[in-house]
């Protein structure tokens, strides 16, 4: 579904990603872990098409299409969803209104009729139950005055509504207490299917107790330096990142 080949990206001339290779197939969950500043969030942002990052080399094929050639909105319409680490506030625009605009633009791109108010509302009801979100929250201004947990839950709700093919969760666990973490993870798990894939970007193993990955990759200095199964995450939890840093740094200096 997703094939990243030798991806290099920089911000304001400073290289952050330095040759990422990753294959993600439908039905899989991949976890991207790594110390702070290793490029995890950059990878998520580059895939979503954030303007500040310049891709200097490499290619990304998503369902047969050159992802990097597409505008951010077209990537979303093709089925790429990014759950933001810091969801953005939009005053005066309710989540409901925001999502209706988004969903109908996505549908238009896919050649589908826009959903009328009745159908849209019944879809909302169905998805609300899935991620245990309160209707009151959805009629408030998007993310404005939301608690950390509410913001993240709202991200997952949007994901449920837009039914993406590839979901990228950027540090979705940060700032969540254990109950919120459980609710958010449950939502993600319920949305998984054989046709979709998930990339979970996280610093801590904790989230992976709830969203169990098929593969774990360790990102360091802009490259994937180690890949394994969920046992790798447990090992990292126990030993920290230093042993990997040492391993990489000693070979790099040769």
């Amino acid at each position: 579904m997703l094939s990243i080949k030798n991806l290099h990206a920089s911000i304001e001339g400073t290289p952050i990603l330095r040759g990422i290779n990753l294959e993600v197939k439908a039905g899989e969950v991949h976890a991207i872990m790594g110390p702070n500043g290793s490029g995890k969030s950059t990878l998520a942002s580059v895939l979503a098409g954030r303007e500040e990052y310049e891709v200097t080399e490499g290619e990304v094929i998503f369902q047969g299409k050159e992802l990097l050639e597409l505008s951010p909105e077209d990537r979303a319409r093709e089925g790429v969803f990014l759950a933001f680490q810091y969801p953005i506030e939009i005053p005066g625009v309710s989540t409901t209104n925001f999502l209706r605009t988004a969903l109908n633009q996505v549908r238009e791109y896919r050649g589908l009729e826009p959903l009328d108010a009745v159908k849209f509302l019944s879809l909302m009801k169905e998805k609300m139950a899935l991620v245990e979100i309160d209707q009151k929250l959805l009629s408030r201004s998007l993310n404005e005055g939301f608690s950390g947990g509410e913001k993240k839950r709202n991200e997952i709700f949007q994901m449920a509504m837009l039914e993406p093919v590839l979901s990228i969760l950027d540090e979705t666990d940060s700032g969540l207490d254990i109950d919120a973490l459980r609710i958010v993870s449950n939502g993600v798990n319920k949305l998984k299917s054989e046709k979709t894939a998930t990339i979970v970007v996280t610093h801590y193993q904790r989230l992976l107790d709830y969203i169990v990955p098929d593969f774990v990759h360790v990102l360091y200095k802009g490259r994937i330096v180690k890949s394994g199964t969920k046992e790798l995450a447990l090992e990292l939890e126990e030993k920290g990142y230093d042993w990997i840093k040492e391993e990489v740094d000693s070979t790099a200096t040769v």
Partner: protein, 481 residues
């Protein structure tokens, strides 16, 4: 930032939708302004002597006045002698009702999306249309007449209801009030008049639609709304003009009188031609609007969505004379390219327990300058006066300006006055967030701006709100990356 600039450049391709004009035979005054022209207008309109004298007195006062320069707007002054002060479409005889109006005129308004045919009109809006200097049609007159409501052109009101005009004309905005108001008093040609009798709740929205068609012509209309005790009316005003290279002057006066327990809601969606991308042409919109809450427990509410005009100078105000009276001002002012707006309100608290509320949302893009200027004045005997003001500014790009000039003048220590102000920029973060959910940039800007202006747009009647939302999006099309 580079993308910002690029998109701002793209804006150049955007055109003003109502920029066309139509050629038809007109009845025009000679160019220039002097006593003879004023007599000419007055004779043309078959006015009574008292009105001619009123005009001439205003003209005398005006001659001694200077064009105000305190506003935060800069423009080359107009040569007022090069303007024409009267232009009217030639009609063989005065139409008695809408069926007798020249089909060519009806076609103009159809093209603007305004149907004068009562059967085709949306239920619930009566409309008076003013083309250049004269009112060409008023709809639903009979229906309103059954309730005793008078809604007609100003000229007609002078003839049919002289006692009302004589009583209220200039009672809220005196002819000597300011430079443009005095000019208007001297040369005004037409406008709308509306009277709601005691205890009547007007069952439909009343509306005036202004259009400047002729070149080198100033439009000077007067609107007078009188809401007698315990009555209610909601009034809408819309306007457009053709795209021309030279500046055109629009200097209107609106007066509102509200008796005890009466309520008047006045909404404007202003879409005059704003000039081209280089700041050439466009309307100078120098308007005086004021309402008086004369009776106890009366209420006047101004809502304006200002998207057009090259230069706007406009301060819809409320004189809160009656005890417990309420004044409100809700405004969204958008400027783009080289537009300049200096707009706001005055709330003058005279009566006891009077309340006012000001919500102003400025949006600046391109190289435009957008100023809020507001005054809250609490007089000595206005015990327990309350005011809440909120002035927000939204900036798009890095070449525009937003300014706030609040004046607060309190002479009674029991007053409670609150002022809040914010300035923000449409963030690339916000746009990216929308993009990531599949929303195109243009639509994202529209969504964000409409969210920002929501508090004001909510005050507009339904159909107007939809139009205003579209207009906001159109005005700002392509102004952010």
């Amino acid at each position: 930032m580079s993308k910002d600039n690029q998109i701002l450049e793209d804006l150049n391709s955007k055109e003003y939708e109502h920029g066309w004009s139509v050629n038809f035979e007109t009845d025009e005054a000679p160019l220039g302004l002097n006593e003879d022209i004023i007599r000419w207008i007055s004779t043309k309109k078959e006015e009574p002597l008292w009105l001619l004298e009123w005009r001439l007195k205003a003209f005398k006062t005006w001659q001694a006045m200077k064009e105000p320069e305190w506003a935060n707007v800069h423009y080359a002054k107009m040569d007022l002698q090069a303007l024409r002060y009267y232009s009217a479409p030639k009609q063989s005889k005065k139409p008695k009702n809408i069926n007798e109006v020249d089909p060519e005129l009806i076609a103009i308004y159809e093209r603007l999306g305004i149907s004068l045919n009562e059967q085709k009109r949306l239920q619930g809006i009566a409309i008076d249309v003013v083309l250049d200097s004269v009112s060409v049609a008023t709809t639903f007159k009979e229906t309103l007449g059954m309730l005793g409501i008078i809604f007609c052109s100003f000229s007609e009101a002078v003839k049919e209801h002289p006692e009302l005009i004589q009583k209220y004309l200039g009672s809220v905005v005196p002819m000597t009030d300011n430079y443009y108001a005095a000019l208007n008093a001297a040369v005004f040609s037409d406008g709308s008049f509306c009277y709601i009798p005691k205890g009547v709740r007007c069952p439909m929205e009343l509306s005036t639609y202004f259009r400047i068609n002729a070149a080198n012509t100033g439009q000077f209309e007067r609107t007078l709304i009188v809401a007698d005790d315990s009555s209610y009316v909601s009034y809408l005003e819309g306007c457009t003009a053709p795209q021309r290279d030279e500046n055109q002057l629009h200097a209107a006066v609106v007066e509102i009188y509200a008796g005890a327990h009466a309520e008047v809601k006045y909404s404007t969606v202003q879409n005059w031609f704003p000039g081209d991308k280089d700041g050439k042409g466009g309307i100078f919109n120098f308007v005086t609007k004021r309402g008086i809450c004369a009776g106890d427990h009366s209420k006047i509410s101004w809502t304006q969505v200002e998207t057009g005009s090259a230069v706007t100078w406009k301060y819809p105000s409320c004189i809160l004379k009656g005890d417990y009276s309420i004044g409100e001002f809700y405004s969204v002012a958008v400027t783009n390219n080289y537009q300049q707006a200096d707009t706001g309100t005055k709330m003058i608290h005279i009566g006891k327990n009077t309340k006012s509320r000001i919500v102003s949302k400025g949006i600046s893009a391109g190289k435009s300058q957008n100023s809020y200027r507001g005054q809250v004045q609490v007089m000595k005997r206005a015990h327990n006066a309350r005011n809440f003001s909120q002035c927000d500014s939204l900036l798009m790009g890095d070449q525009c300006g937003a300014h706030t000039f609040p004046y607060i003048d309190i002479a009674n220590p029991s007053a409670k006055v609150e002022h809040e102000a914010t300035t923000s920029k449409i963030g690339e973060d916000q746009i990216f967030y929308c993009n990531q959910r599949g929303i195109a940039t243009e639509d994202a800007v529209a969504l964000i701006v409409n969210g920002y202006a929501k508090e004001v747009l909510n005050q507009l009647p339904m159909e107007f709100a939809v139009e205003a939302q579209k207009l906001l999006a159109l005005t700002l099309e392509g102004s952010v990356g």
